[in-house]
Amino acid sequence: MTRQNRLLLGVAAALAALAAYWFLLLAPKREEGAALATKVAQTQASVAQAETTLASYREAEGSYKTLYATVASLGKAVPADDDTRSLVVQLESAAAASGVDFHSIEVGTAGTSADDATLDPTAAKLPPGAAAVGTAGFSAMSYDLEFKGSFLELSDLFSRLERFVQVDDDRLDVTGRLLRIEGLSMNGAEGDYRDLTATVHASTYLEPAGEGLTAGATAQAPAGTTSSTPATSADAGTTPPVTTATTTGALR
């Protein structure tokens, strides 16, 4: 074997060793490293997103008591049940304040047809006379109310009826049931325009059927939580106040 051949053979062996090293050792390691880097980046992104979500959850936890108070106060405007007795008290108070005679109240018959109840499975859970409204889960209950008084007194009453729940910018003041006057008519007694009879068709609203006033939440924690700090005996099992006609409050 000549010297030149030996040299060529050595170069070839070196190249072969280099290729083997590259393809059998270094390249797989580099690929593994790249795959792991990609996976790490993806995991970092998902963890960052989860941490963002967790931050919002912690914020919700921090504001829970305020929200619970808001929801409980909102029960005055939109109770879980029809709570007609409370409504009657509120109407009578408003009528008396306006100098109007609260003559009659009758629960509306709309929205309770058998077809509706058959089509909507939640309709069976609604109180008698109530009908599902919109996508918020609320249900509406209509009433026909009759008042007697003068034109100005009745106008004042209409204002009072809708002042139970007032919106002032982002502030929501709740002092009673949320009433929406859908329609009304006024007829005067013969010979005396001061003695008008106003028939008001109004809607009230109820909490979503099945959720209840606070959807199973207590003052300590919402439903479904496993609180690590047990409730004290003083406030354990506190339930929100039942809707009454005399309570007042303001929500933000």
């Binding site: 390691k29 963890v47 829970y64 709309a110 919109g134 859908e182 010979g191």
Partner: protein, 298 residues
Amino acid sequence: MPINDDMNAVNLLPPDLRGALKSPGVAAAGEPAGGTGAYIVLGALALCVVALAGYVLSSNTVKQHESDLTALEARSASVMAESARLKPYADFQSMAQARVATVRDLAAQRFDWEQSFRDLARALPADVTVKTLGASVSSQSGSSAGTGSALRAALDVPAIELQGCTTGQRAVATMMARLRGVEGVTRVTLQGSHKPGKATNVVTDSATDEAPAGCDDSNGATPPDFTVVVFFENDAAAAAAPDGTAAAGATASAGTTPAAGSTASTGTTPSTTATGQAQTTGTTSTSTTVSTTTDGAK
């Protein structure tokens, strides 16, 4: 002794002593290949070191990534567990915010009846007597004792229907112009204005079958009875929301809405409402149920 050309020089020294006698310059020139081999070996060794370093670095990178991934997975599991624990709070927050938003929307979209009535009362001329007043937030909803005119159903916006009488047709036009100036009113539509005795829309009392005492006709004039509908088209949101509420009102007012174009019977049909409504007699499509009361809100 001279050496012939046929003789060759013979080195008689032993082979291991021959190199020591050579000068360094002669030795280097005689073995050049031995130095190249050493460089090749050194180069190969350096290459091996570099290759080993590359492999070690790659392995370290992989191990670092594996370590990072393990830590991240542990962190992710911790975050997920914490999120699962706090999720009911977020759900409650969503529910509370949805309820507040819904109540706020419902409250904000109500129509201000009190303000509208106050404005109407101020705008109506003194010589106009309103016999009945009906109002509704949409064409489908309405009061149980509303007049339910066909014109009212034309626009699905809040509207107020007025039935009454005044001193003459010019006064009806004046009244309509005044009503058009009320804030929020976008349209004042006349359903009809008829003078009793000449027109077809005669109002009779369901109990006495007599024409009610309407506006003052002591001077021999026949005051016309009018029906106008005042629309508030800028408050269409009040009519649109919420779903289902409008339908609720439709049922309540269905019993008092006569079919357009119907030929009503004579005024002997008793009223069906407690307020003592009268039945109209006529052949036109404008016949509606009106109250027998003579004095309304002015």
